[in-house]
């Protein structure tokens, strides 16, 4: 057994926490952008799994992690284009379509996996970390924060860039106005349908990256249904964070910490049932919810299709 609170243990703990937090964070960023534009994407769970599966296949076939992320993102963009076509362009109920996408993504990824890798169950190797000179020499946080796979840094950068985009650029402001009062955006010369469509596709890409991160980095393999409700968690996080990506990051980290703690508990000699350990992160999130959920203020026009001139 690893001695607790040694440098090696703490490093492993932080690495585990981040490995669980990043996929949720990426998906929640995607969901945030969608919600801010007025589209509630309930298909995140399916998008994560599709992104994870196709990312996994691409990396197995080509050996490249970057290609895996790219293909994962593309696959989820394609799946989310169904939501774009049905809900944004045709105005169908976003909840129904979103749940459909979750079911489709879960089912399709399982069937394909069982068909192609069900018996061999291959695993991936480790992605070579980007070691940041000097910083990675700091004890504990050095090896845990500054010797991560490249996609970790890209993910953090995406969170930062998305935040700047939403709050510092005109297109970000226009995206938020599509979620608050689409008629105002329309009158200001913006295109609500295009804005929301791009937001949905962006959400798909982020979920695809999240799913691929889960498969390629966190787990090192793909297993059917491996998200275990992570997509829905991302939706909740996006609602709690009310569009602020720092909150998305923090709540994702809380989730990651509890997942890592569960792993630690399994390593101790305490006899805790496995199920209790598995549900711990969700209980943590539920506690956060009971304290903060009443504050969740959703965009005024969320999940309402926009028809010009309708009252």
């Amino acid at each position: 057994m690893i001695p607790f609170f040694s440098d090696a243990f703490l490093t492993a703990f932080v690495v585990a926490a981040l490995a669980s937090a990043i996929p949720v964070m990426l998906a929640a960023i995607g969901e945030t952008v969608g919600e801010q534009s007025g589209v509630l994407n309930l298909g995140i769970e399916g998008l994560l799994l599709i992104g994870g599966y196709f990312g996994f296949v691409a990396t197995i076939v080509t050996g490249s992690f970057w290609l895996g992320f790219l293909i994962g993102a593309l696959a989820s963009i394609i799946l989310s284009s169904i939501l774009m076509a049905l809900s944004v362009l045709l105005g169908l109920n976003q909840i129904v379509v979103g749940i459909g996408i979750t079911l489709a993504g879960t089912g399709v990824s399982s069937v394909l996996y069982d068909f192609s890798y069900g018996s061999s169950k291959p695993r991936l190797g480790l992605d070579a970390p980007w070691t940041i000179p000097f910083l990675s020499d700091i004890p504990v946080i050095g090896p845990s924060l500054f010797a991560q796979p490249g996609m970790f840094y890209v993910s953090m950068l995406l969170a930062l860039v998305t935040s700047i985009w939403l709050y510092r650029t005109t297109s970000g402001l226009r995206l938020r106005s599509a979620g608050q009062k689409p008629s105002s955006l329309d009158a200001a010369g913006g295109n609500v349908a295009v804005t929301r469509s791009l937001a949905v596709l962006f959400g798909g890409a982020m979920s695809g990256l999240g799913g691929a991160y889960l498969a390629l980095i966190s787990a090192g393999t793909f297993t059917p249904g491996m998200t275990h409700g992570m997509g829905f968690l991302a939706i909740v996080i996006a609602m709690l964070a009310r569009g602020r990506l720092l909150w998305v990051l923090l709540i994702s980290l809380i989730y990651g910490l509890f997942v890592a703690m569960g792993t630690v508990l399994q390593l101790t000699s305490l006899n805790i049932p496995n199920d209790v350990v598995t549900i711990m992160p969700f209980i943590a999130v539920m506690i956060v919810l009971t304290f903060f959920a009443r504050r969740s203020a959703l965009p005024a026009a969320l999940a309402i299709p926009y028809v010009r001139g309708a009252r």
């Binding site: 650029t169 005109t170 938020r176 105002s184 009158a187 200001a188 010369g189």
Partner: protein
């Protein structure tokens, strides 16, 4: 209202045409909204567009704003034929529109709302936008805090922001759609001052209204629409030569299509031509029907609660509540109706304390509430007209017997009410949500005023309705008071309050800050002064008077 005409009329006649509409026609299924309308908008003029609801004003604006495409006809902007295919084109042609219903996003700051139009900037340019807002603020004569949330501004200020937004990219033509409908007289004065400043700068302003005195006070040119056609036009020179009465008579004739003598009294009155007769006297010994004593509520989600409200409504009396929208009117109405429990204080009806009674019990005692949110709170849109008419009687005889609905009784009631209130509906079974706003309001009135009403709260009863229904609703309110009922009329339309109420109480920040008896002496001005907070001392004496 300010005197008009910074630019002499002769100059307007010669000043260049900015927008020329020729034979604009636009039809929707079953209706020709614009029927070959031709119009010239000139530099430096205020062009009033008058007409009843449904006359085609809104469609014409949509065409100019690029939201609708005309079926035929041409638009020339500065002499060049132009197809205004989208709001973007409209804006780039220098046309700015301020819509009747706020286009501001309440959760964003003033600056963010304005920067929404800066589609060419990649980065939000806060410094540039602040400077531009300052510049426009000077032009409009308004001071606007750029970092306030738009929803926290008063309506007058919101409108100034909307005008700034419409002019953000240097508009040559500013379209104001019913800009005065929600404003206090003081805010209207500010608006008129702003419009005159813009006019002096050489802008053309299209001012849409259905109030005649506004058209006369502010307009250089008046065009009247009726049934989608131009039915009357007054040039600046003519306008100058006419007295207010003459011009009003001309406009009325154009609006209603007959000469003034033949206009029915309701139409004339609804248009504000006829001064309403002096309020009849309420007998001094009229019993108090509703009494509110030290009533307080707490806010659930941001709306303003009421604080220490004391109010008596006598039998046969109409008490008007004036105030800027969202200043506690909602809580006042709901606390009387029983939808909201007060934290302290008492509500009595005919000396009986009903504070603890719920909505249904109060309904039975005759307390009724005609809500302002008629579309959502007032009716169930997917239910039939008949069901909506008995909505507050569900489970009760004679409409329900042994837990089953008596269809014949419900339809009979519906039939009667539809006839009594002239509700225009294809049948009793039609879904209520498909009716027009006016007919939905009639359903509400029919339901709330049936079965022995004693005290009725009318919350913005005519907001957004066409003139004829407005008249009809106001007559219903009067009839109810004449029959001995106690009426509380909550409205943001001061003209309406002055027309109907026996006295007007002003609400501000959830407190009743003063009272004006409706004695016909500058009532709207005095109420307006109270609303904007000046002359509070006068207000206090008014209140003291009431509680003597």
């Amino acid at each position: 209202m300010n005197p008009q005409s910074a630019v002499p009329e002769s100059d307007i006649a010669e000043s260049p045409v900015i927008i020329r509409l020729t034979d604009i026609t636009k039809s929707f299924p079953g209706i020709v909204a614009n029927d070959s309308i031709s119009l010239d908008i000139k530099r430096g003029e205020v062009h009033c567009l008058l007409g009843e609801n449904g006359a085609g004003k809104s469609t014409l604006i949509s065409v100019l704003a690029g939201l609708q495409q005309p079926d035929s006809g041409t638009i020339e902007v500065n002499g060049r034929p132009t197809v205004i295919g989208s709001p973007n084109v409209s804006m780039s042609q220098g046309i700015g529109v301020v819509y009747q219903h706020s286009a501001l996003i309440p959760s964003l700051t003033v600056l963010e709302n304005l920067m929404l139009s800066d589609s060419d900037n990649f980065w939000l340019d806060k410094a540039g936008a602040t400077a531009r807002l300052h510049e426009l603020g000077e032009l409009l004569g308004a001071e606007i805090d750029p970092d306030m949330q738009a929803g926290d501004l008063g309506l007058g200020q919101q409108q100034q922001v909307e005008i700034a937004k419409a002019m953000w990219k240097g508009s040559e033509v500013l379209i104001l759609d019913e800009p005065t409908s929600m404003l206090t007289p003081q805010a209207i004065d500010n608006l008129v001052a702003s419009v005159n400043r813009l006019k002096a700068e050489g802008l053309a302003v299209i001012f849409i209204s259905h109030k005649l005195h506004e058209a006369y006070a502010i307009g250089d040119t008046v065009t009247v629409l009726r049934g989608g056609k131009v039915s009357g036009r007054i040039d600046p020179a003519e306008m100058h030569a006419m007295s207010e009465e003459e011009s009003k008579a001309r406009i009325l004739e154009a609006m209603f299509g007959t000469n003034p003598e033949a206009i029915s009294s309701d139409e004339a009155e609804a248009a504000g031509l006829v001064v309403e007769e002096q309020r009849r006297q309420i007998p001094a010994d009229a019993p108090v029907v509703v009494q509110l004593s030290d009533l307080n509520t707490t806010s659930r989600s941001g709306e303003i609660p009421i604080t220490d409200v004391n109010l008596k409504i006598h039998a046969g009396e109409i008490v008007g509540i004036a105030g800027i929208d969202g200043h506690g009117q909602q809580h006042l109405a709901e606390a009387i109706a029983g939808q909201l429990s007060p934290t302290s204080g008492a509500v009595t009806l005919d000396s009986k304390n009903i504070t603890k009674l719920k909505v249904k019990a109060r309904q039975h005692l005759g307390v009724r509430y005609v809500t302002d949110d008629r579309l959502h709170e007032g009716i169930v849109g997917t239910f039939s007209v008949a069901l909506n008419l008995v909505l507050k009687k569900v489970g009760e005889s004679p409409f329900w017997k042994f837990g089953r609905m008596d269809k014949a009784a419900v339809l009979g009631e519906a039939h009667q009410q539809i006839a009594d209130y002239e509700i225009r509906t294809p049948s009793e079974q039609t879904r209520a949500g498909t009716l027009s706003g006016g007919n939905i309001q009639k359903i509400l009135l029919a339901r709330e005023l049936s079965h022995d009403p004693r005290a009725v709260i009318f919350h913005k009863p005519t907001y957004g309705l066409d003139l004829k229904t407005v008249y009809r609703v106001r007559e219903t309110v009067r009839d109810f008071a004449r029959s001995g009922g106690a009426a509380l009329l909550i409205s943001t339309d001061l003209d309406e309050l002055a027309e109907l109420s026996d006295r007007i109480v002003v609400i501000s920040n959830g407190r009743l800050i003063g009272e004006i008896p409706n004695d016909g002496n500058r009532v709207t001005e005095r109420v307006g002064e109270l609303m904007v907070g000046s002359k509070t001392d006068l207000a206090r004496t008014g209140v003291a008077h009431e509680h003597e």
